[in-house]
Amino acid sequence: MTHKSLLIADARTKKRNAAERRFKAYGLSAIVVAILALVMLLVSVFGTGASAFRQTYATVTVPLPEDKLDKSGVRDIEVMKKVTTIGYTKLLNEGFENVVIASGIPTGLSRKDIGGMLSKEAAATIRDHILANPDLVGTEATLDLLMNGRIDGYFKGRVTLESAALDSNTSPEELALAQALKDAGIIHTKFNWAFLTNPDASDQRPEAAGLGVAILGSLYMMIVVLVTSLPIAVAASIYLEEFAPKNRWTDLIEVNISNLAAVPSIVYGILGLAIFINFMELNQSSPLVGGLVLSLMTLPRIIIPARAALKSVPPSIRDAALGVGASKMQSVFHHVLPLAAPGILTGVIIGLGQALGETAPLLLIGMVAFVREYPAAYTPDAGLFGEASTALPVQVYNWTQRADPGFVERASGAIITLLIFLLVMNAVAIFLRRKFERRW
């Protein structure tokens, strides 16, 4: 019998190698497709949203005559509050016009038009500033004030001279003036911290719209989710894994938990509506209700990785603990739990991350509210986390519904913010896992 040389590949080997090469090619192309999709997403989101983080302001010196602003003469806040934003608007217009005249830029616009270039929010800004610093009355104040959405849009490329001619909110002359003022240094764009801190704004003021309320609402909800679902989920998974007898009932429970993790989140919204709002009569739109609904949703998503983490602790550790004379409880809490902790922690953070991005159940319980004020953590009327609020993903949904093109940029900016938060949470999960992982 002649022996086959190892140096010559036979037909079967060649076929097998070809099949394996094909398989690798499929895998690679799948990854490439996925990466392309991701890149397209990121490019489109960052393309529209990155500009949300820069905002156009004008440096304006506003005269603050006492006779107009403080009728009492003694800086009585209650009296000063009677002066509404309309009164301040007149002062603003005056101040801005003065700035324009002082700069020497020629323009044919009236004071009203010039004042109209400022955002409607500007009056509120200066009013709040004065009420906070009543001593400024009688002098002047130089502030950075928000420009309106169209001017801002012009500098960001959304608005052109052609579109301005057709636009009722602005005109090519205003744009020209704005350009000149920018060249003169009176108008400038700077990083938009207000995007993150301002509450939401009305349809006419996209430039003033911010994520402040949404971020705070999401934060409160995450706190509720953490405080409710973490202890319950961990306790449930410990019980199911370590203490429960292995019979048909526990099998049933296991199957049901897996199923619950797969239930569409909107069903939890309906559940929350029925139980928390209708039956328990908690406040609608509150972070408390939102948090409770999200907890229900997150519970199975924490229990499943927690159980996997507990299962992965080798039985030799438990045997060793029992052999030394530890009780079942001691062996679980002193040995099994610390070893399973990284896995449980990762499960918790990933569960929280998923909860952070959930929209559907929140829509159902009414967190679509347009909220102008920051929700307080506790008020006597609303209770703990009981004030109406909104959440980040809901805010995105909200802004995409609005007419003004300025909100497109805001919505994308909000998506970017959401993505950054999720990225940070996942990074924390990975870091904690690496740090606490122990070899056994």
Binding site: P245, K246, P314, S316, I317, D319, A320, A321, L322, G323, V324, G325, A326, S327, Q330, H334, H335, L339, R438, R439, W440
Partner: protein, 258 residues
């Protein structure tokens, strides 16, 4: 089977039966284990020697389908009595397992865990003393004294097993159960552990389950041969290996089938 009548046996088992569900794993075993002696349990795989060993510290309680009947007395007290707390029992009867399984903690914490949970030390100084004594007795002190806070899992296989032995003896047990303690170790580590067992028998009653007949011959004074759940022969080690009574014992130790 020859009747061994012992004066004051440390452990005495009468009519012990163990069932795993319907499987009758241990059939009517009667045996007396002497104090300050090494007793070896030998037999083919699945003969029940490990199962019987685990009855002696009630580790079989952790298995739901396992049922133990009969009487097992340590120091004349039935350990399956309803008043006996298995946790307390396991402080008195220590166990060392086949695969070294130190806790993923420091060497010090490994040894100190048992005494801590049983409240054997009133303060840190006493605990330090207990840890040092246990490590010395396990012939690990010299290698470990400069690295008490390093993780127990960083030791070599033989050292880890000696750490597990130190951990078991830290709770001042009276009986030491060892389930194939050397099967995962290389020959040198095995020899070191066997040497250690020889020293330990001066203080404890040691019961060792082993697959290696040579090990049983080297290390024990008394040997029990288990086969298919029965205790076939129990006698002095020399007798079992030079001239056993039962033909089944003869077949097993000579490496014959049947």
């Amino acid at each position: 089977m020859k009747d061994i009548n012992m004066q004051n046996p440390k452990i005495s088992a009468k009519n012990v039966q163990v069932y795993y569900g319907d499987n009758h794993a241990i059939k009517d075993v009667n045996v007396e284990i002497a104090d300050k002696t090494v007793t070896a349990f030998i037999g083919p795989s699945g003969c029940g020697k490990s199962t019987f060993l685990r009855c002696l510290n009630r580790m079989n309680d952790t298995i739901d389908i396992c049922r133990v009947t009969g009487e097992i007395k340590i120091d004349d007290e039935d350990i399956y009595d309803a008043k006996v707390d298995p946790v307390q029992l396991r402080a008195k009867v220590g166990m060392v397992f086949q695969k070294p399984n130190p806790f993923p903690k420091s060497i010090y914490d490994n040894v100190a865990y048992g005494p801590k949970i049983h409240g054997l030390a009133r303060n840190k100084a006493e605990l330090d003393e207990i840890v040092e004594k246990a490590l010395r007795k396990a012939a690990l002190w010299n290698e470990a004294k400069d690295r008490l806070n390093s993780p127990g899992t960083g030791l070599s296989g033989g050292q880890q097993q000696r750490l597990c032995i130190a951990r078991a003896i830290a709770t001042a047990p009276e009986v030491l159960l060892m389930d194939e303690p050397c099967s995962a170790l290389d020959p040198i580590a095995t020899a070191q552990v066997e040497e250690l067992i020889d020293e330990l028998r001066q203080s404890y009653s040691v019961v060792i389950v082993t697959h290696s007949m040579q090990q049983a011959a080297r290390v024990s004074q008394k040997t029990a041969f288990f086969h298919l759940g029965n205790l076939v022969e129990y006698d002095d080690t020399t007798k079992i290996f030079t001239n056993p009574d039962d033909p089944r014992t003869e077949s097993y130790i000579s490496g014959r089938i049947g």
